[in-house]
Amino acid sequence: MRLRRPQIAASAVVWLVLGAIYFLVPLIATLLFSLRDAQTGKCCSLSAYGVILHDPQFWTTIKISFRLALETIAIGLLLFVPTIYWVHLKLPRLRPVVGFLALVPFVVPPIILVVGLLKFYKDTLHAPFWFLGKPDLFLVGAYVILAFPYIYFSLDAGFRSIDVHTLTEASRNLGASWRTTLTRVILPNIRVAALSGAFLTLAIVMGEFTIASLSAFHTFPTYLQYVNESQAYPAAAATLMSFGITWAAMLSILLVGRRGGQRTVRVGIGR
């Protein structure tokens, strides 16, 4: 006799359907809205997408944001991988300190951080314009901090799942330098953790509005807000594209995680 599969509970169906409605309706509505014709307001026309794709500002800002994301990822990994490696290997006493620092960005969210950064660099240090006016320095500087908790928790889990001491000793005993040990032995073992941290950072930077807008930079999210205020239907098209970027980044995390045998979904702060 074959065992019957357990039936899905009725109350579960109710909650799952209600959840699906709440989550899907705004997406479907945005899609329908983006297909409205600019003149008549009726369905269906792709002109809103044409407006966005032909806007040079769209391409400029999306390139800037993407470049900032790559820079944030590069600096973040360069800064955090050796630090977390060293803390795990030699200074386990410092782990709570780094862990505490990783919680600080939750108590100092972007809206507070931007006040502090502007006051500190503009009014206290009187930093020169080549620093304050350059997104690659000022904004990336702040974004590395925003990304820090997510890269940290990702990497910390990665380092805990491998035997750092044995790997390091084996590599050092075989005559490898510290640099070779880090890049050829440790890095391949925490690749999944580093990649999920990187994709999450991509999603965060591509959506970060608060700091960029209040320190007067033009990035993809500030462009989105500008379109929202000026052109309704193209704004819906741009919104869906932005959603697509977040999807792509999150699905990439799942894909690298699945190949690496881990399932991790983490949360960012793109608000």
Partner: protein, 273 residues
Amino acid sequence: MPFFAYAAMFLILPAATVMIGAFKSTDGGYTFDNIRAIVEAPNIRDAFWESIRISLTTAFLGALFGLLIAYAAIRKGTPNWIRSAYGTFSGVAANFGGIPLAFAFIATLGTIGVVTQLIQDVFGVNIYQHGFAIWSRRGVELVYLYFQIPLMILVIAPAIDGLRAEWSEASSNLGASRWQYWRHIGMPVLMPSILGAAILLFGNSFAAYATAYSLTSGTGLPLVPILIGNDLAGNVLNNPHEGQALALGMFVVLAAMMLFYIPLQRRASRWAK
């Protein structure tokens, strides 16, 4: 270590500037006037109250619905694909905040939104004539739940997973009802995780700026982050240290929240596998 130098330059020193700046007067001396000003000014008190109210509401509702949906997706009998679909989607939606989220809801329930017009066509009711507005408190709460519920699902799912099947079997073998199981076993085990997650949700909503800014266009609903933003953008500049005092006020609320969060987190990990 370069890491600590970096954290000092871009996190600790700027944060310290805010804390110190909040106690500085315009002529450079130290004073409590800025703090007194934000405690006494009715519009700022209102903003803090409004922010806390929205955060409490969306933390409570987000925790409640997130818990119910997560449990429905995880419990025995629900097909696996539904569970993984919800897991993946929550990962995306919890990160889908800010400007795009605000516009998605404007396209849905704004004055010419798709659902607004649908309701008008089908029921002949204009919701904007019946007190609803997407830039009102109710509207902002509805939008915030779009990232609060998924965040709750992500945070609480491992805790629900940690409820062992043996506990429920043992209790039913001993003659306990479903209700008794939840009352004496399930809920006490889950409670620290639920409260911890709710605190996280509160902070998440309290600190949100972009979504509210985009929905309310910087005016209308007064929230603390919006006031700080206006202050920085130079829209209201009566005292240059007011922004820092407001930021300090936010920091105090969030730090108090962390003080509750950390012990709860420790409690919650007690039953982890």
